[in-house]
């Protein structure tokens, strides 16, 4: 019964987070003095010269429909919730008209998920393993050096790590392509090889930043756990250090890190976007950048709505898995 209540509460929080986030991105643009339709018309005029007023009025009307700007604010909001949030229909992409923005996003999203999920999980595993060792034997020299390296990498923003890796490995050493290019032609093997080459540096830069954080946080957690009485007691019982490390220190500090993993997904996604842009990796990040350059508002709105849904859902999943891992949870 308690279990059901815990699940129910998490589901409500999940729905509320998405609803508040989406409401926010619906109303904020409408509070700005800039009007995307007038911007578009300005751009069209500067490209194709003056138009006659009648054509212009028709264009303005059809653009307002495309942007979902028809009707009262309340109607627009309900329409957006219904179409955008429940059906992922954000209207046509204004650049690749008339392909729906949702369809284009659906082809790019798997690349982002593939890249960021793999690097986030790998970073979590590697970082916690190193952090555990470093915290458990915190007076060893190697522990201090590892932590020092982590401190020098973690605070640097994702895009800068990506840029530095790009300069060193792609430009100076020439080991990897400067821009990610995924070869869809020429069979599965060629596709996979090009996917690997294209993903390596973006994944590495996300991995470095992520691992840095997990090393730092796990080190301080496990160092604190190692001082606790029950660990001292295990030592007095004469248990092997390995066993103490694995079943006493790790078991107790890893739980905090699972919650932290759920909390970190938003930041990891921000990082994925920036990394993709630096390497022109064909994911949602690159799509957002292209949409900004071309003022494709339906596309921007779509990408952002989907990111909010994706991240809240990932956080929800991590929250729901948690009780299966921690036997002490009280479902509160």
């Amino acid at each position: 019964m308690k279990f059901r209540k815990y699940f129910g509460l998490r589901l409500v929080t999940w729905a509320l987070t998405i609803l508040i986030g989406v409401t926010f991105i619906f109303f904020i643009p409408r509070m700005f003095p800039t009007d995307p339709v007038e911007n578009m018309i300005g751009q069209i005029q500067s490209r194709s010269g003056q138009m006659d007023p009648q054509e212009m009025a028709a264009l303005r009307k059809s653009l307002r429909v495309q942007f979902g700007l028809e009707g009262s604010l309340w109607e627009q909001y309900l329409a957006y919730l219904w179409r955008g949030l429940l059906h992922f229909d954000f209207g046509p992409s204004l650049v690749s008209f008339p392909t729906p923005a949702g369809e284009i996003i659906a082809t790019y999203l798997p690349y982002t998920l593939f890249l960021s999920l793999i690097s986030t999980l790998l970073a979590w595993i590697i970082g916690n393993a190193i952090g555990l060792l470093a915290g458990f034997r915190k007076n060893k020299r190697s522990s201090k050096i590892l932590e020092g390296i982590a401190i020098c990498i973690y605070p640097v923003p994702y895009f800068l790590v990506a840029l530095i890796l790009q300069i060193v490995f792609a430009y100076l050493l020439g080991w990897f392509p400067l821009q990610s290019n995924i070869n869809a032609m020429g069979g599965t093997a060629a596709y996979l090889r090009s996917l690997f080459r294209a993903s390596f540096l973006p994944a590495l830069s996300q991995l470095l930043v992520g691992t840095g954080w997990w090393i730092i946080s796990m080190k301080s957690l496990s160092a604190a756990t190692a001082e606790e009485d029950f660990v001292q007691y295990a030592r007095f019982r004469g248990l092997a250090e390995r066993r103490i490390g694995a079943s006493y220190v790790m078991r107790n500090s890893i739980l905090t890190q699972i919650t932290a993993l759920a909390m970190s997904l938003g930041g990891a996604f921000n990082g994925a976007i920036m990394t993709e842009i630096i390497f022109s990796y064909p994911g949602v990040g690159a799509l957002i950048q292209k949409a900004i350059l071309q003022s494709d508002y339906n596309m921007i709105l779509g990408c952002i709505t989907i990111s909010i849904v994706a991240i809240s859902t990932a956080t929800l999943i991590a929250d729901l898995i948690y009780p299966f891992i921690d036997p002490r949870i009280r479902y509160s």
């Binding site: 929080t13 509320l16 987070t17 508040i20 986030g21 926010f24 991105i25 904020i28 643009p29 700005f32 003095p33 800039t34 995307p36 401190i151 020098c152 973690y154 605070p155 640097v156 923003p157 994702y158 895009f159 800068l160 840029l163 530095i164 300069i167 430009y171 730092i216 909390m263 938003g266 930041g267 996604f269 921000n270 976007i273 920036m274 842009i277 630096i278 957002i288 950048q289 900004i292 350059l293 003022s295 508002y297 921007i300 709105l301 990408c303 952002i304 990111s307 909010i308 991240i311 809240s312 956080t315």
Partner: protein
């Protein structure tokens, strides 16, 4: 001050030194009279470093050293403005939530949690993309501040919850002090020590967000910040032209600034913990 320095740990010391150097560059060196580096063709192009131009000049004939100094000044200013707004708002929301409890607390916390979890960058991108062309530094700072208040308010709230029950607060209540007075004289000092590390964190985040937006071409075009400096150098192919001082100096400066601020934050937190332990 002497005692503080003696008790400070290695990280805190290193962080303070690095941050102080940046503050001196950004707010002292900046005011040494110099030619505005923003304009093109004030000097010959692509000069190598010399006494006159310590970091050389760009392919547009700008002095890289003064570009860097102004970029550091502007990035720090944005970071500090955003952190100030975010911290003040966060402390207020956190205190109100923690002390009022009940429904107010619930509602405020749902909103706060949403802002903690939500991916900030896509929303920043949406807003700055809409403001493009008309965006100014102040607007940018306000937009960034929207994501700077949630984390502090969460922490301040849990602090308020734990402090509410302590003896000295009870004593203050019973001695007939009003709510306002208790909050200002008894709780605010506590909240401020806590907020200092949040403040530095918010500064770091704001500078990072601004530079991320700059890489997307969404930072105001007339704002000479570290992010924009990197982006302009990339746009002008500084990498391919091998102009390492142009692209390299803002990168190195940004990395150092972030490491310095991070050391300062973690060092300060450790210092506070140690102080409480004694």
């Amino acid at each position: 001050m002497k005692k503080f320095w003696k008790n400070a740990n290695g990280r805190l010391k290193a962080g303070m030194i690095i941050t102080l150097i940046f503050l001196i560059i950004g707010f002292v060196v900046f005011y040494i009279p110099h030619t505005d580096p923003f304009f093109n063709n004030t000097y010959p192009r692509k000069l190598a470093p010399s006494w006159e131009h310590p970091l050389g000049t760009t392919s547009l004939g700008q002095d890289i050293f003064w570009l860097l100094v102004e970029a550091i000044h502007n990035s720090l200013s944005i970071g500090l403005i955003v952190a100030t707004i975010g911290t003040v708002a966060g402390v207020l929301v956190g205190l109100v939530a923690g002390f009022s409890g009940g429904l107010t607390d619930r509602i405020l916390m749902v909103i706060t949690d949403t802002f903690v979890v939500i991916p900030s960058l896509p929303i920043l991108v949406l807003m700055t993309a809409l403001m493009r062309g008309s965006s100014t530094v102040i607007l940018l700072a306000l937009v960034l501040a929207m994501f700077a208040w949630a984390w502090p308010s969460r922490q301040i709230r849990s602090m308020a919850l734990s402090i509410k029950e302590r003896d000295f607060i009870q004593t203050a209540w019973f001695s007939g002090e009003g709510t306002m007075q208790v909050v200002v004289t008894e709780i605010l000092p506590y909240a401020l020590t806590w907020s200092l590390s949040n403040f530095m964190n918010a500064t770091l985040n704001a500078i990072a967000s601004e530079s991320s937006l700059a890489v997307l071409g969404l930072s105001p075009g007339n704002l000479l910040s570290l992010g924009n400096m990197i982006q302009w150098a990339r746009d002008r192919n500084a990498i391919f032209a091998g102009q390492w001082f142009w692209i390299g100096s803002p990168i190195v400066a940004t990395v150092l600034l972030f490491i310095g601020l991070f050391l300062l934050i973690t060092g300060y937190n450790d210092y506070l913990q140690m102080k409480r332990g004694r």
